[in-house]
């Protein structure tokens, strides 16, 4: 597998199949954690190499080592036959190693063009050649087949569109080795297709692609080979043609796929919440009911109005027309506070922006909604504060050294458990989960789904929002499909097929670029 130290000019086109990057015993230790046990792996030029594994399996550590964000503990990285230190991000980029991260790390307030050329601006005598850069950026974007304008401010695009720009940006920098870390987490199907086209094209140009995803169907659609990490160990590498879904999942979690979607059926009880012809910012004329013991799924693309609908139920935004009924009585929900008092709980879409106080302890995050209950007058009972936090940590199997660890130090899946777990002690009756499993691995997903079952058995109702069809399809007792702010179809448990639901959510027309909400 090794390509012996032949003198190669960097500009030389790489022949497909030749080893471009080799890891020899690459290892990373943190104090107290062995994040990546010695890994031996060779990446070939012009291959799409998927890496799958649960949260905490070592995927992100591997990326950080390859992109020079963190130094390795031991082992060697051989780049084009020569050892590379990869001590700084700059060095990695100079070699041609780039990464597109799950969350867009670009400047939201600058234009698309300015972002594309950030750090490599075209200037003449110190004056930025703005128009030339917009023209150039537009050419690149058009060339890639993305229907997006280069002159608009990046923050005006949807997250999915921003992700495409981030990908486009990475391709124009002499990249030979490009890492995608869960790029489709926030993408619509159409955007994902555009991204896949881009990835295949890069492969055709000889670029090596590392593709990290939790979505198996994407791995099978794109990859040539797939490597599985578990607990920091490389479990194995397979040619995609010689493996299947079940084998990969088994390698990842030592558990079969049927155990992931764990659906319990309960007889629905009384109606908890009813929306009658509810309208607000981003959605119109939506009616639905949620009963105790059932999961109501809301499926649609990002920006279809699902999140806006539930945040209005929750009092975050004002309704413009219609009624909200709680346990049969009409109520005015003017603030989150009102909603929580009625018995609603919301686990929001973005852990980072809406869900967690990242630089505060896990315990505080868990107790946030119940401080009123665990304090007499104003003073907090520190004993209760501790027991409540420890109870949730144990119940939800949150992996944290202590309740005093900062939320930012936990993995994505464990953070998500905090966002969900904080409502369990609160005793809410209606739980709204907005994309609860984005960026969460199969094992944690299964735990979250099992939690749903527990909530239902206690007589709670659940609204589950997801852009991931199998999730709502396998779990929801009633499935509502949203498209552009309207509720366009309703199905029972597994009564429709994937195709039909997808078509209802997409309809015939394409979305307009920049047309968010």
């Amino acid at each position: 597998m090794t390509s012996t130290a032949q003198e190669l000019h960097p500009a030389l086109t790489l022949e497909p199949g030749r080893t471009i990057l080799e890891l020899k015993g690459l290892e990373k230790r943190y104090p107290g954690t062995h994040a990546l046990k010695p890994v031996n792996l060779a990446f070939k030029a012009s291959e799409i190499h998927a890496i799958v594994g649960e949260n905490g399996a070592g995927k992100s550590t591997l990326i950080k080592l390859l992109t020079g964000v963190m130094p390795r503990t031991s082992g060697d990285v051989i780049w084009e036959g020569k050892p590379a230190a990869l001590a700084t991000p700059h060095e990695a980029m100079a070699l041609g190693i780039n990464a597109v991260h799950q969350e867009v790390v670009l400047c939201r307030h600058l234009t698309v063009a300015a972002n594309m050329f950030l750090g490599e601006e075209d200037s003449r005598f110190g004056i930025l050649q703005q128009r030339a850069m917009v023209r150039e950026a537009q050419k690149i974007i058009d060339d890639l087949g993305f229907d997006l304008p280069a002159h608009v401010v990046l923050g005006d695009l949807t997250i999915g569109q921003q992700q495409l720009i981030a990908a486009a940006r990475a391709t124009v920098r002499g990249t030979k080795f490009l890492i995608f870390d869960e790029p489709t987490a926030y993408l619509t199907r159409k955007e994902a297709d555009q991204l896949f086209t881009l990835i295949r094209r890069l492969k055709g140009e000889g670029v090596t692609i590392i593709y990290i995803s939790h979505r198996m169907e994407e791995v099978f659609e794109l990859a040539d080979r797939v490597s599985v990490l578990r607990d920091g160990t490389l479990v194995g590498t397979r040619n995609i043609a010689e493996t299947n879904d079940a084998e990969l999942v088994k390698m990842m979690i030592n558990r079969s796929i049927e155990q992931v979607y764990h659906k319990e059926h309960f007889t629905p009880g009384a109606t908890l919440l009813e929306a009658r012809n509810l309208s607000g910012k981003g959605f119109e004329n939506v009616s639905m009911t949620v009963r105790a013991g059932e999961i109501v799924g809301l499926y649609g693309l990002i920006g279809a109005g699902r999140s806006e609908f539930v945040t209005t139920l929750y009092g975050r935004h004002r309704k413009s027309a219609g009624q909200i009924l709680w346990e049969g009585k009409e109520v005015q929900v003017n603030s989150e506070h009102d909603a929580i008092r009625l018995g609603m709980a919301l686990a929001p879409e973005s852990r980072r922006d809406q869900g967690l106080c990242l630089n505060l302890p896990v315990g505080l995050n868990l107790n946030l909604p119940i401080y009123k209950r665990i304090s007499s007058n104003l003073l907090i009972s520190s004993a209760q504060e501790k027991t409540e936090a420890d109870r949730q940590i144990a119940n939800l199997r949150i992996k944290t050294p202590t309740r005093n660890a900062l939320a930012s130090s936990l993995s994505g899946g464990n953070q998500q458990k905090i966002v969900i777990g904080r409502w369990l002690a609160h005793g809410a009756k209606l739980f709204i989960f907005d994309e609860p499993t984005v960026g969460v691995d199969v094992g944690t997903k299964a735990e979250i789904y099992r939690l749903f079952g527990e909530l239902l058995s206690k007589g709670a109702g659940i609204i589950l929002i997801s852009s991931y069809l199998p999730e709502v399809y396998e779990l929801a007792d009633t499935l509502h499909v949203f498209r552009r702010g309207k509720l366009v179809a309703t199905h029972g448990f597994r009564t429709a097929n994937h195709e039909d639901i997808l078509n209802q959510a997409l309809a015939e027309k394409q979305e307009k670029p920049g047309g968010q909400i």
Binding site: N359, I380, T400, P401, S409
Partner: protein, 321 residues
């Protein structure tokens, strides 16, 4: 966000205590050095003086810290102090009973803080702007009220208070304890204290968890205004005059004390004991520099360097290396 388990940082509470101890050690070290270097430092007289000098900034720094923890800043506190000296002086000279005059002055401080909350929450102004605006206007209003003159307070009992001691400790320092203990309980052991941190860390997440974010912001600025008005009363008592131009630049000293005490200007990190220690470290440096006949200009430079050094090392340790 990374999807990997990153080794957890050290528990926060321990860290806070450790940092507090380091500051305390620094303060004690300064005292030891100064006691050796100058004979007059360790005298009872000078220590009392030092405690008086540090007390007022210390109280301001506590109020300031509440605001900074929410991710804001209160630039108006110096001006509020000056303005409060005018209010309390005018009231006392008009024959209002002292306790009532003090109460009204404190309420004025509360009102100013509420106004800041209003500007931030209702008008959507950045904290920096609204408090900068009140900083300049309060000085102006005070000057208008006094015609630019100082008002001598003709009440000896009122002035005696700040010059007296109780159990050998200056009354002004007792005031620090009077403010510090409730402030400590409030910030570290009450629900609203937790909300200050959570709002400073992530206002949206707090709101969705049922925290009344607007009320929390009102509360932080109101407490800061209240502390500043209280310091105004103490200052009026100490110098015996009401003058709107007093306490020039105290807001910066209060912010400096808070930051030296481990408060993060990004919000969500801070304590009560830290800023108190910070204020007395600054006071010790000024006091010691005076005794050592160091040029007053140098004192400002030393303060600046100290801020950089302490915050730098604090940042290093926070990052865990």
């Amino acid at each position: 966000m990374s999807t990997e388990a990153i080794p957890a940082e050290r528990p926060k509470r321990n860290y806070n205590a450790l940092f507090g101890l380091t500051l305390l050690a620094l303060l004690v070290l300064l005292w030891i050095i100064l006691s050796v270097a100058t004979p007059s430092f360790a005298s009872a007289n000078n220590i009392s003086n030092l405690l008086r000098q540090g007390s007022m900034i210390a109280i301001l720094a506590v109020g300031q810290t509440f605001v900074i923890i929410t991710g804001g800043i209160d630039l108006s506190v110096g001006a509020v102090v000056g303005f409060a000296t005018v209010i309390v002086a005018m009231l006392i000279n008009a024959g209002v009973p002292v306790f009532l005059a003090i109460l009204v002055t404190l309420l004025v401080g509360v009102a100013i803080g509420m106004f800041h909350g209003f500007g931030i929450v209702r008008m959507g102004l950045p904290p920096f702007i609204i408090t900068l605006a009140t900083l300049t206007s309060l000085r102006g209003i005070g000057l208008l009220m006094t015609n630019g003159n100082s008002i001598s307070i003709n009440n000896d009992a009122f002035q005696l208070f700040s010059r007296s001691s109780f159990l050998g400790v200056p009354n002004l320092f007792w005031m620090v304890i009077l403010v510090g203990i409730p402030a400590y309980i409030f910030l570290h052991h009450s629900r609203w204290g937790r909300y200050l941190f959570s709002v400073g860390s992530n206002a949206e997440a707090s709101r969705l968890s049922g925290v009344n974010v607007q009320r929390t912001i009102y509360m932080a600025y109101t407490l800061s205004g209240l502390c500043a008005a209280f310091v105004g009363v103490l200052l009026a008592s100490r110098i015996g005059i009401g003058n709107p131009t007093q306490a020039e630049g105290w807001e910066l000293q209060a912010i400096a004390s808070s930051v030296i005490g481990g408060t993060s200007l990004f919000g969500a990190v801070g304590s009560v004991h830290g800023p108190l220690l910070g204020a007395f470290i600054l006071a010790t440096i000024n006091n010691g520099a005076n005794l050592l006949n160091v040029n007053a200009f140098w004192q400002r430079i030393i303060t600046g360097v100290l801020i950089i050094v302490i915050v730098y090392f604090d940042g290093l340790r926070r990052r865990g290396k």
